[in-house]
């Protein structure tokens, strides 16, 4: 059936709906970014506090050669690091990803090695490094 509307009006309509689609996508991205920004402001300091706590417990467990506690702290800290990676800005994300990759490799090689003194202290260093990354990210977010 032939349209009652002229061709030029249909073209305008199509163009406007395309612009509308692009605008919807832009707004969706902006809302997502705002939500992420709020999450960063509230969650990153909490994550940092938790990591400091886990690092401290890990240090005590390593000093006492308490392998069971070391495993528990490693597991808990890994889970928190994964949450941190999701929230961190792109630049800082890569550092935490590298740390998580090192942990994965260590786990795959020999899970028991993590609990042994060498692997455990290496992991402890990695947590401290990630705390530093988080501290910088928190400062950046505060002034963003």
């Amino acid at each position: 059936m032939e349209s009652v509307l002229p061709q030029w009006l249909q073209d305008v309509e199509t163009t406007l709906s395309l612009i509308g689609f692009v605008l919807t996508y832009v707004v969706f991205q902006a809302v997502r970014e705002v939500r992420l920004s709020f999450q960063r402001r509230t969650r990153l300091p909490e994550i940092r506090r938790d990591l400091v706590k886990f690092a401290s417990s890990l240090s005590t467990a390593l000093a006492a050669s308490d392998k069971e506690s070391v495993k528990i702290e490693v597991r808990a800290a890994t889970a928190i690091l994964k949450t941190a990676r999701r929230l961190l800005p792109k630049d800082d994300k890569s550092e935490v990803t590298a740390i998580l990759r090192r942990i994965d490799i260590a786990k795959r090689k020999n899970h028991a090695r993590l609990a042994a003194s060498n692997g455990g202290w290496d992991f402890y260093s990695d947590i401290l490094l990630s705390i530093r990354v988080l501290e910088q990210a928190i400062k950046n977010v505060r002034w963003a």
């Binding site: 003194s117 260093s125 530093r132």
Partner: protein
């Protein structure tokens, strides 16, 4: 490896050496250069020798100023120093407070021998 990463590794190495007993700490008086001409308070000063180097570790309590409240307040930080045989401070760091606080806690634990003390107290006959 970046310089700040090296410092972090050093703090972890000191913590590890403290745990293994390779590094023994003892309580000492803080070097004069740290307490002279300042209002800072150093409640306890630990000194230890690791790989032919003398280290000092202490909590520094000092007055800081808050821009938000426009008031001074007391705060503290853990400081690690490298001293020479004449007790002169050659280098100091207070970055990486998480690592330094863990080290300070480990040193306090070792010097107070709290683990042994708790074992003795808990294994003894009840009063």
């Amino acid at each position: 490896m970046r310089s700040d990463e090296k410092i972090l590794k050093l703090i972890v190495s000191l913590n590890r050496a403290t745990a293994t007993g390779e590094l023994q700490w003892r309580i000492d008086d803080a070097p004069r250069s740290l307490v002279r001409g300042t209002d800072d308070v150093i409640p306890l000063y630990f000194t230890g020798r690791y790989r032919q180097q003398h280290f000092g570790l202490f909590e520094r309590r000092y007055k800081a100023f808050s821009i938000e409240t426009e008031q001074t307040y007391w705060t503290s930080e853990i400081v690690l120093v490298l001293v020479d045989i004449m007790d002169r401070v050659l280098w100091e760091t207070s970055s990486d407070q998480s690592a330094l606080r863990d080290l300070h806690k480990a040193v306090q634990r070792k010097c107070s021998n709290i683990d042994q003390l708790l074992d003795d107290l808990l294994s003894g006959p009840e009063a």
